[in-house]
């Protein structure tokens, strides 16, 4: 389970900023991690010390697989070990259901020219933002989140695709164990609560689907009143997922010797299981990694059809796969990560635009002179940091740097979710309170670090964009975090 991180000491050392005047705090170690729990595996203090430590010094790589499910909200901070085991089992089953769905869909996609839609029911998204992951996992109330309808000449060959468990013939108290009789036409996906900062969006509190489901009773011929969601359909996502999976960044290999040493035979089996092709040029470990990317991303697209798959998501998943060796654990960590990050990938672009606007506001508040220069270049919308915002610095930082940054960011978000953001003990010595927008402060810090260059050398937005797109390998993650925290301290009330 635990990934081996041989190169940890030297890697960490190399991350230390040569310019940083602040002494870097030690990361959370295995020993202090173990010491945080009671005998029944509950945090002694509700996780406050854990989050404080994670926020200021990060996490020792060898314990990441144990820690990330807490950071990403897979496990409640107040849960006992026994409760977590139950949650893990339940989530594992749901993931496996999702995979069965994907396999069924794949065989249909590849067999014929069937038009496949993931439908919206009366415009209601299936993403349920009410549910807390932990409590939902314990909920008895199985309710469908996604239904798949098939339209095509040979639809009669397929069993009742427009059937859901809560159609009039049944009620939601029925046990949801009828996959075999209806070939998995639904699944019971519960969702973690989303961050509320995008609440201006259409994702207002959504009630559970069953009450709203207008689908007709168990008549196979009747079609639900649905509309096709976009020009992108599940088959398109499947294609693009595979295109992206076989060109994943191999940088992680050095960090996970266990996964790096997979045999060619095993990796080919994995590829075959998800119908992956065109991988002959890849090393066995990359074939397996690509196959895992396909498995988890397809499952996610089925789980969250509002988002489906969008290029860039594989960048976010890849590091999680490296740390979490089991696909189902990786999937739920990814779901936790996407709780906030999914807004970046929305079709209506509300999420990404909102985030760019915040970066713009941070720069305006901190440096009016630079902001005026950007205005002059018609670049005040900060579009030049689009990629940084969308894939959360993954393209600009190394693998190790990226996960360090993400961990600190996740710890901030976890502190806010747990309602302990105002707890004095959760504050760092910098006095920076946790924020949901730490990444945006880091991006603004990154731009501000280049203010002289931008002011003196750049006379078009294109040049700034080129600068931002070519920062790979030039950033110092802890300096960036220090600068970001400084900005949070001075600006968090204003922005």
């Amino acid at each position: 389970m635990v990934t081996c991180w041989n190169s940890y000491t030297t890697e960490r050392h190399s991350l230390k900023s040569p310019w940083s005047r602040k002494k870097r705090r030690q990361p959370l170690s295995r020993q202090s991690w173990n010491g945080l729990f009671t005998i029944e595996g509950r945090f002694r203090d509700g996780g406050i010390k854990f989050l404080k430590k994670a926020r200021s010094g990060g996490i020792e790589p060898s314990i990441r697989a144990d820690v990330w499910p807490f950071l990403l909200g897979v496990y409640d901070l107040n849960s006992s070990e026994e409760e977590r085991n139950a949650v893990q089992l339940q989530k594992r089953n749901i993931y496996e259901d999702l995979r069965r769905q994907c396999q069924l869909l794949s065989s249909h996609c590849y067999q014929g020219n069937m038009l496949m839609n993931i439908d919206k029911i009366n415009g209601e998204a299936r993403y349920d933002f009410n549910e807390d992951a932990y409590s939902a996992a314990n909920s008895e109330d199985g309710s469908p989140r996604l239904s798949l309808s098939m339209e095509g000449s040979d639809v009669e060959d397929q069993p009742v695709y427009d059937r859901t468990p809560d159609s009039a013939s049944r009620n939601s108290d029925d046990e949801v164990d009828d996959e075999e009789e209806c070939e998995i036409t639904h699944f019971d996906a519960f969702l973690a609560e989303t961050d509320s900062s995008d609440s201006e969006s259409s994702y207002e509190v959504l009630k559970r689907i069953p009450k709203l489901n207008p689908w007709p009773t168990n008549s196979p011929s009747s079609k639900p009143e649905t509309f096709s969601r976009t020009v992108e359909d599940y088959a398109t996502w499947q294609r693009i997922i595979r295109v992206d999976a076989i060109r994943a960044d191999p940088e992680w290999v050095a960090c996970s010797p266990a996964q790096a040493s997979v045999s060619l035979e095993l990796s080919k089996q994995a590829a075959e299981a998800v119908d992956l092709k065109n991988y002959d040029h890849l090393e066995p470990c990359m074939i397996r990694h690509a196959s895992r990317l396909v498995s988890v991303l397809e499952a996610y697209a089925a789980y969250d059809p509002e988002i489906g798959y969008c290029q860039g998501m594989s960048d976010l998943l890849s590091p999680i796969l490296t740390v979490m060796e089991d696909d189902h654990d990786a999937f739920w960590c990814f779901v936790g990560f996407m709780r906030k990050a999914r807004h970046n990938f929305r079709l209506d672009e509300i999420g990404i635009r909102r985030q760019l606007a915040i970066v713009s506001r941070i720069i305006r508040s901190k440096d009016a002179h630079l902001y005026r220069h950007l205005e002059k270049l018609q670049a005040e919308d900060c579009f030049f940091v689009y990629r940084m915002v969308l894939v959360l610095f993954r393209r600009e930082l190394t693998f190790q740097q990226t996960v360090c940054l993400w961990e600190v960011m996740w710890a901030d978000q976890a502190a806010i979710r747990a309602g302990i953001e105002n707890s004095a003990s959760c504050r760092m010595r910098l006095r920076a309170p946790p924020t949901n927008d730490l990444l945006l402060y880091a991006i603004a810090a990154c731009v501000l670090q280049r203010r002289k260059l931008i002011l003196e050398k750049y006379s078009t937005m294109d040049e700034i964009m080129r600068e931002c797109n070519s920062m790979s390998g030039q950033l110092d993650v802890w300096r960036l975090l220090d600068d970001a925290h400084d900005l949070v301290v001075t600006l968090h009330d204003k922005v």
Partner: protein
């Protein structure tokens, strides 16, 4: 062809690379601007650009080539960058027919966002994968003819026709521009942001079809 110092040029032409995800747009760009190719080049997020200066009919032309994300989802973002483009390479993958089917949509999108006289070249990439061909050269030619675009088959991997495709587009832009004796001034960099360089009326764009060499 010699690569020149970036700021020493007579004209600046903006060219966009568009087409479905994974057809090889980024590799066409890196092959043309840096003579590099990578099987593992990452997906393009949003837009990126690179430049290369080259000599076209005794003039130094700086090509600013914008590479765009292929997924439908990014269309709103990427199409904003079509503005001001005077040339476009519409790229599909000769081994995936679905990417050729998308060409019509991409072309429509392009024409909605640019001057109608933009020089367009249909590019069938990955021509090295002969054994996997799914789009015939004839079909592509017919499409190019119907839509009055240029056409070439390329291989960024083998570096086949990449240079020719870009140079052809740049030459055509230059030729149309010269014919109309456009008033773009001595310093093309001085163009106000967002202004399109007109490349003449539709009739001026002569259609030359080139069959791929692969």
């Amino acid at each position: 062809m010699a690569y020149r110092v970036d700021d020493d040029y007579d004209y600046l032409f903006k060219v966009v690379l568009i087409g479905d995800a994974g057809v090889g747009k980024s590799n066409l760009l890196s092959r043309f601007t840096r003579n590099e190719f990578s099987l593992e080049s990452k997906s393009t997020i949003g837009v990126e650009f690179a430049t290369r200066s080259t000599r076209v009919e005794e003039k130094v032309v700086k090509a600013q080539i914008w590479d765009t994300a292929g997924q439908e989802r990014y269309r709103a973002i990427t199409s904003a960058y079509y503005r001001g483009a005077v040339g476009a390479l519409l790229v599909y993958d000769i081994t995936r027919h679905v990417t050729f089917e998308s060409m019509e949509r991409w072309l429509k999108e392009l024409r909605e966002h640019t001057n109608s006289n933009v020089i367009v070249m249909l590019v069938g990439n990955k021509a090295d994968l002969r054994h996997l061909r799914a789009v015939s050269t004839e079909d592509a030619k017919a499409f190019a003819e119907k839509e009055s675009t240029f056409f070439m088959e390329t291989s960024a991997l083998e570096s086949t026709n990449v240079e020719d495709a870009f140079i052809e587009v740049l030459t055509q832009i230059h030729s149309v521009m010269s014919k109309k004796a456009l008033n773009v001034g001595d310093d093309p960099m001085a163009l106000p942001k967002g202004q399109t360089i007109s490349v003449g009326s539709k009739d001026d764009v002569s259609v030359v079809k080139k069959s791929g060499c692969c």
